[in-house]
Amino acid sequence: MAPTIAQKRWMYRHMLISRRFEEAIERIYFEGKTPAFNMANGPIPGEMHLSNGQEPCAVGVCAHLDAGDVVTSTHRPHHVAVAKGVDLKRMAAEIFGKAAGLSGGRGGHMHIFDPAVNFSCSGIIAQGMGPAVGAALSRKLQGKPGVAVAFLGEGAVNQGAFHETLNLAALWQLPVVFVVEDNAWGISVSKRQSTAVPRNDVRAAAYGMPGTYVPGNDPLAVFAAAGEAIERARGGAGPTLIEIETYRLAGHFMGDAEGYRPAGEKDALFARDPIPALRRRLIEDGSLDEAEADAIEAAAQATVDEAIAFARAADYPAPETALERVFA
């Protein structure tokens, strides 16, 4: 399955929006945190998990989805949220803890909920998977169209929820796709240190569903694999497990000294940054010319600037509103 020119441009634009967004977050995150790094300080306090480098996973999958499809993501959600069409201004405001944020500041960066596009995420490893399976079940029971996609890290496949949800999804032939973003690390523990299975797509066989492996952090290859899986799901043929080789260009969270990485690993990863690589390819295959690529880039930056400005200018919630919204 090959993307159209419009889809390729869409993928490039959304990879750029995600990257520029995170570059802005990264810059602002350090405000108020120097010289002494204290996570509690600055306009964006708390943990911050950046996804830069992993954009191909998000756009290659979400290019096949519309707002009605359901996506669950993880503690590292920004790239997926951007690709799923989450309101960027209100997501930025949420990350700043502002009243205009998606959840009025209650959730923050690890708990992004945008019901308008059926996006949610959770900070507990592998726990986004059950809700994705449940959304798929609900679509089946209601006879409603749409598929669900659960994103997870390669570290999450060693969690009980992974095995239970895959089994259930296959048993009930649900319209769900499981997307493992294999960035080789779960905090400081490498994939090799955490499982004797080198490639997690083979685990699909244990549950009676197809598994696919996508090497090379390549958005076009992700597009192809995800397209097939989502088509199967939409057609009622049941779930698929996809593992994507990707890279985490940042630390696990901001402030991570990354002492566990082998020397030179980061440099090698930056040399394979998927965003300039996609730009080159799209220009080579005639999908874009230099001027169009520049224009997409400028537009992405403008979108991000607008979202960040909105978030900065927004008001903090009234403190006592913390007590509201516990129940429906």
Binding site: A36, F37, N38, M39, A40, N41, P45, G46, E47, E94, G97, K98, G101, G104, G105, R106, G107, G108, H109, M110, H111, S122, G123, I124, I125, A126, Q127, G155, A156, N158, Q159, G160, A161, G186, I187, S188, V189, Q193, S194, T195, G255, G259, Y260, Y316, P317, A318, P319, E320, T321, A322, L323, V326
Partner: protein
């Protein structure tokens, strides 16, 4: 103590005190080993296993997959089989994925075996918020663990206690849940309560479970807390002292067993009780402490007991909301004022 022994003062963070206690025990007891996420190469996200893999190697200090049910359940089995495992649940909030191993196995196997087996294991876990990490990474959940029979529960407020309680936990034949507050760890990136970093003797020592500490003596009101709550209580006591009110501060140190006698003795003297708890308000530590006093003797009370606890809401991310919810010294002083009006 420093002056009496003539020894140089050695100020340690709780993180270092915990690691030192474990290392000292590992040197003399080959049955002690560790399992957890990011505890080896990284030395623990909160620094409390730093240096251990370098000294004891990856066989005894094991980085695990993100598989809490597997490695905590495995610790229960290893403990019954003659080892003395130490496991880390990185944030207490993650207990949801592995609670069966904790409360149905770890906590019940001694009892269900009629005392036929021992479960000498320590489950270390971080608690607490205040740094905008929201409700899946900031809870305390002290009462959740203390409520379920079969687990000893400790929560140090300073490095001296942290070391002694850890050594005692390692030598205990029953499971111990060792809850350390992130804001007391001495990790700069979380901000740190300076009062938690104190002088710690180099030699190994134990602190008995079930002995609360009167960390400040007073006459007019008893303020009971644990972990971060103790520091809030001490600051409130300073504020009250400036107004001529003499507050006694009790550090519970262990919830199971709970030293009810020390609390009752203190309240019998002061006639007023405030409980400070960063765990949720309802069905929790504060209610238990107050009940322990009033079910024993109502007559000594000069005013209804007060609690300064976390409201019954999930912990919000946004700083103004989170700070609004957290206990603090001003809220403790206000609680005293409410009692004074009573």
């Amino acid at each position: 103590m420093t002056e009496q022994t003539g020894r140089n003062e050695r100020r340690l963070t709780i993180a270092r005190a915990m690691a030192e206690a474990v290392a000292q025990e590992m040197r003399i007891d080959p049955r002690v080993f560790l399992m957890g996420e990011d505890i080896a190469t990284l030395g623990g996200v909160f620094g409390n296993t730093r240096g251990l893999v370098e000294e004891f190697g990856p066989e005894r200090v094991r980085d695990t997959p993100i598989s809490e049910t597997a490695f905590i359940g495995a610790a229960v089995g290893a403990a019954a089989d003659g080892m003395r495992p130490v496991v880390e649940l990185m944030f207490v909030d993650f207990f949801g994925v592995c609670m069966d191993a904790i409360y149905n196995l770890m906590a019940k196997n001694i009892y269900f075996s009629g005392g036929g087996i021992k479960v000498p294991m320590v489950l270390m876990t971080s608690t607490g918020g205040g740094y905008s990490d929201a409700g899946q990474h900031s809870q305390c959940l002290y009462a959740t663990f203390a409520h379920l029979p079969g687990m000893k529960v400790v929560a140090p407020s300073n490095a001296y206690d942290a070391k002694g309680l850890m050594t005692a936990a390692l030598r205990d034949d029953s499971p111990v849940v060792y809850m350390f507050h992130k804001g007391l760890q001495g990790m700069g990136w979380l901000g740190t309560e300076p009062g938690a970093t104190v002088d710690v003797p180099e030699t190994s020592y134990t602190l008995p479970f079930g002995q609360a500490a009167v960390v400040r003596e007073g006459r007019d009101v008893t303020i009971v807390g644990l972990a971060m709550g103790v520091h809030n209580a001490l600051k409130a006591a300073d504020d009250l002292a400036r107004r001529g009110v003499s507050a006694e501060v009790i550090d519970l140190r262990t919830l199971v067993p709970l030293d009810r006698d020390t609390i009752r003795r203190s309240v019998a003297k002061t006639g007023r009780l405030i409980v400070v708890d960063e765990d949720y308000h309802s069905f929790g530590v504060s209610g238990e402490i107050i009940a322990s006093v009033v079910e024993h003797d109502l007559r000594g009370l000069k005013a209804p007991p007060q609690r300064v606890a976390y409201p019954d809401v999930p912990i919000p991310f946004s700083r103004p909301m989170e700070q609004f919810c957290l206990p603090n010294p001003a809220k403790i002083v206000q609680a005293f004022d409410r009692m004074a009006q009573a």
